[in-house]
């Protein structure tokens, strides 16, 4: 089969690889009908996430049709079922899964020993990601093996196009969780840093969850345009001070809830000294992440506010004003997405026409064009915001 394969930093290739096989009785094989490139794939593309290995298949946003089912999964899945595959693999049976904390499933990470050392306690297995999260082959391929498939799937009805459903795999529940874990009140101003695909979903989620005012921060004009279309007030940080504008919009109090949809590779103006500091340290491998957004959120967030972090961070960050956070009584909510916790509700909202997540797609191409699309997406060329690949 064809698959997009990681060969090293900035080196993705569409390779011919052997087909995946059932390895466990709970597995299923999916014929992928649509998959997408995620912003966090770019962290892998840039080799900022440790423990990647040449030959790893990329991709954790995929959906398709079940073509093979392991014996133990047959009660839940059958050939021909149409499914979206959550990017977090979960067993559905461990203590964390029973609590709904699917992204920290205690059984699905097959490199648990390595992950325990890196994270203290292992997180769930993820598709198409680092070997710290199991090193499972990803979904930017013609076929995908889904481990624990009897639990790790979202059955979707026929009659709704892939484009409306595909993002249930990651970015829609990720944006939703980011907003939901802010516990939004009707009087709240929610500020969202980053208007990439997850940021766009977080904006729509905050509106559907009843925020009084949503403010979106970025520097890419077309992304700000899309944020504005979704009902956000926008701030272009290249043109104005984020902190001054946020205080102005909130009567000097600061946003009640802040969401970081940027993560480890924040792009900020070179006039800010911490940008130069972080970039220098990251280049010399003395710091994993560039946490400018985190610092800014802690500074501007209203006292007793919530900072929600769906943006990916990989390791050590530096110069975080934690005293400021502690004294202001800020609550931090983080984590990979517990996809399955949200998808029943989100699928209902799609079916009812409350939201159509396909608005974010700017490019739909063949899988073979994937390597070029990584560059296009990274460089934000051709107004690219979200790429869907058709194997």
């Amino acid at each position: 089969m064809k698959a997009l394969v990681w060969h090293g930093k900035e080196d993705i290739r569409c390779d011919r690889v052997s087909d995946p096989e059932i390895q466990d009785s709970r597995d299923a094989i999916i014929k992928v009908t649509s998959c997408a490139i995620c912003g966090s794939d770019l962290h892998l593309f840039h080799n900022f996430i440790p423990a990647m290995m040449p030959g790893d298949i990329m991709g954790h946003e995929a959906m398709g049709e079940v073509v093979e089912v392991g014996s133990a999964a047959k009660g839940k899945l059958k050939k021909g079922d149409r499914v979206v595959v959550p990017f977090t693999i979960f067993c559905g049976e461990c203590d964390q899964c029973r609590r709904g904390n699917y992204s920290v499933c205690e059984r699905s990470n097959r490199n648990k020993d390595l992950a325990d050392k890196a994270f203290g306690h292992a997180t769930a297995g993820l598709f198409g990601y680092t070997h710290l999260t199991g090193g499972y082959p990803g979904g930017q391929a013609e076929y995908l093996r889904v481990p624990f498939a009897d639990a790790t799937h979202i059955k979707v009805p026929d009659g709704i196009p892939d484009e409306k459903l595909l993002f249930l795999s990651d970015i829609f529940p990720t944006g939703w969780q980011a907003a939901a874990q802010c516990d939004i009140e009707p009087t709240d101003t929610v500020a969202i840093w980053g208007c990439g695909p997850v940021g766009q979903m977080a904006i729509r989620s905050a509106i559907l969850l009843g925020a009084k005012q949503v403010v979106a921060i970025d520097c890419v004009p077309e992304r700000l345009g899309m944020a504005e279309a979704g009902g956000a007030i926008t701030i272009n940080f290249m043109d104005e001070s984020v902190i001054e504008r946020l205080n102005e919009l909130t009567g000097g109090k600061g946003p009640d809830k802040c969401i970081d949809c940027v993560g480890m590779e924040s792009h900020v103006t070179m006039s800010l000294p911490d940008t130069i500091y972080d970039r220098g340290k990251q280049m010399l491998m003395m710091e994993n992440d560039r946490p400018h957004v985190l610092r800014e959120m802690i500074y501007v967030c209203r006292g007793a506010g919530v900072i929600s972090i769906p943006g990916v961070y990989s390791g050590l960050v530096d110069k975080i004003p934690f005293g400021m956070a502690m004294n202001k009584g800020i609550t931090f909510r983080t984590g990979q997405t517990h996809v399955k916790r949200w998808t029943d509700d989100l699928l209902r909202r799609i079916e009812e026409g409350q939201i159509d997540p396909s608005f974010v797609i700017t490019h739909t191409v063949r899988l073979e064009d994937g390597p070029d699309m990584y560059k296009l997406f990274r460089d934000k060329q051709d107004d690219c915001i979200k790429v869907v690949l058709k194997p």
Binding site: M1, S18, Q23, R145, L209, G210, G225, M283
Partner: protein, 179 residues
């Protein structure tokens, strides 16, 4: 070439059979080569400055050669990073400094290694051409195209019933939740 990573794949996981074209452009490959060259040259200048000054008839300039070595390493690290355009810009600026410094050796009275200096200048000029070519190619390959003519996506609300209807859904849900 047989991919070694196939050896450590789990049984049943896909293994590479045939590799396709890389996402790395020629500009990326040239830039990567220049980055490693920069680090190699920088280490040489840091560790063996005397051999360099002797070959160029410029004894007494070892501290400057060491400083240039540190500069080369910094530029190399930057060139290999995702900020390659900054690395290449700093390399071009460094090339200018190198040529100016070598020019001093060329006019130094009594320097019997002027032929070596001339050769070194020719080499630096050659590398400068490569640096400029890489910087330009990188800008073309990775720069944002069509600036000033961006799409606004004003129709991409994501809400089939409109933004106001979506706000009402949120408000209604909140009111129902607090009742």
């Amino acid at each position: 070439m047989f991919p070694l990573s196939n050896l450590v794949r789990a049984k049943g996981d896909p293994k590479i059979l045939r590799s396709g074209p890389s996402s790395l452009t020629m500009a990326d490959k040239l830039t990567r080569g220049l980055g490693w060259f920069s680090i190699g040259l920088g280490l040489t200048e840091l560790l063996a400055p005397r051999k360099i000054t002797r070959a160029l008839g410029m004894r007494g300039m070892e501290p400057l050669v060491r400083a240039y070595g540190a500069r080369e390493i910094a530029a190399g690290v930057m060139t290999l990073s995702t900020e390659k355009h900054l690395g290449l810009a700093s390399r071009v600026a460094g090339d200018g400094l190198d040529i100016a410094t070598l020019a001093v050796g060329l006019v130094r009275p009594g320097n019997r290694r002027r032929d070596n200096v001339a050769l070194a200048i020719a080499m630096v000029v050659g590398v400068t051409v490569l640096d400029i070519a890489a910087a330009r190619a990188t800008k073309v390959a990775h720069g944002r195209n069509g600036a000033g003519d961006r799409r606004k996506f004003a129709d991409r609300t994501g809400f089939p019933q409109g933004v106001e209807a979506a706000r009402r859904i949120g408000t209604t849900a909140r009111t129902a939740g607090s009742a």
